[in-house]
Subunit: 187 residues, 2 copies
């Protein structure tokens, strides 16, 4: 499974592509940060971001695009730009027929570090370790985009197992302990 994660932002928008399946080492395919200068017109900034996101999705043809869910409560000052960047990422994916999923920041933190309140340094350290990188992805937006993609691969597998179990339970089949690998990094 190839997943493209987007940490949405107008000034810096992280894009990270990860390939793999749960229980096996994941691979970094691509990481970049799209930037638009704060002094440019808002229309020009949004168009540059739309073009960059379209190009990234077209170039990497992921199976799914995962975008961080934007909460209006947090960061009231920047929520508009963040929401707009997230919207453009969802349009880029849907235009190419690629499904979109949203994960909350705490879902991502919990999946990657085991704690829903992990800080940026912890996220970056775990992403570096999980993808076996020689150096940490920078800035934080790059690491966050990769974290989203990793989270989706791991959570997706977990949710698929839960769904399977529910379907079997409904069908009256006795649920046997699953033999698939545990979720998480093997240490």
């Amino acid at each position: 499974m190839r997943v493209l994660g987007v940490d949405p932002g107008l000034t810096r928008c992280g894009v990270g592509v990860v390939e793999g399946t749960t229980g096996r080492p994941l691979t970094l395919v691509h990481v970049q940060v799209l930037r638009t200068p704060a002094e440019d017109d808002i229309g020009a900034r949004l168009l540059a971001l739309a073009d960059g996101l379209d190009a990234a999705v077209a170039a990497h043809r992921p199976d799914v695009v995962v975008v961080e869910r934007v909460f209006a409560q947090h960061n009231v000052r920047t929520v508009t730009g963040t929401a707009q960047a997230a919207g453009l990422a969802m349009v880029a994916a849907t235009r190419l027929g690629i499904p979109v999923h949203l994960h909350t920041p705490s879902e991502v933190k919990a999946a990657i570090t085991g704690s829903g309140s992990a800080d940026k340094a912890q996220i970056t350290a775990m992403v570096t370790r999980i993808l076996r990188l020689d150096c940490a992805p920078k800035p934080a937006d790059a690491a966050d985009a990769l974290a989203l993609a990793i989270c989706h691969i791991w959570r997706g597998a977990a949710l698929a197992r839960l769904n399977d179990a529910a379907v079997r339970a409904k069908a009256g089949v006795r649920t046997a302990p699953t033999r698939s690998a545990p979720i998480g990094v093997r240490r």
Copy 2:
């Protein structure tokens, strides 16, 4: 001058095109409300909206696109969708090389009704009168999009006169009373 106004929204997005110049009767060119069903996937909704806005801008080729400025403070529950719709409208315009302007709701209300705290009924009534329509544009999103376009034509003319006066004053030219028509509806 032909102005396309956008009252951004994910469930209902108003689009109104008005043509004219200050001091002369303005003309309604087009009005529509783009709708996306709340039960659809967010990606599908945003793409439908992007396509609808692209089509409206391409069909009417306005001189300027005016979008209501989104405030994160108001309406926290819906601000994300509103911001995303506004972003898509700005991308649609910029992609075709059309300048984008933002006006706040109170600027629009003040320009149209004389009061920055006018209610929706007052806005609709004034838009109907200004454009000499046989019946009121509905829903409110349609009237709001037309109000934005009207506001821009009137404010644009006023700002242009202020700019001219400032330039003349700076150049040491005595500012003569302007002979252009007053801003507003003639009654």
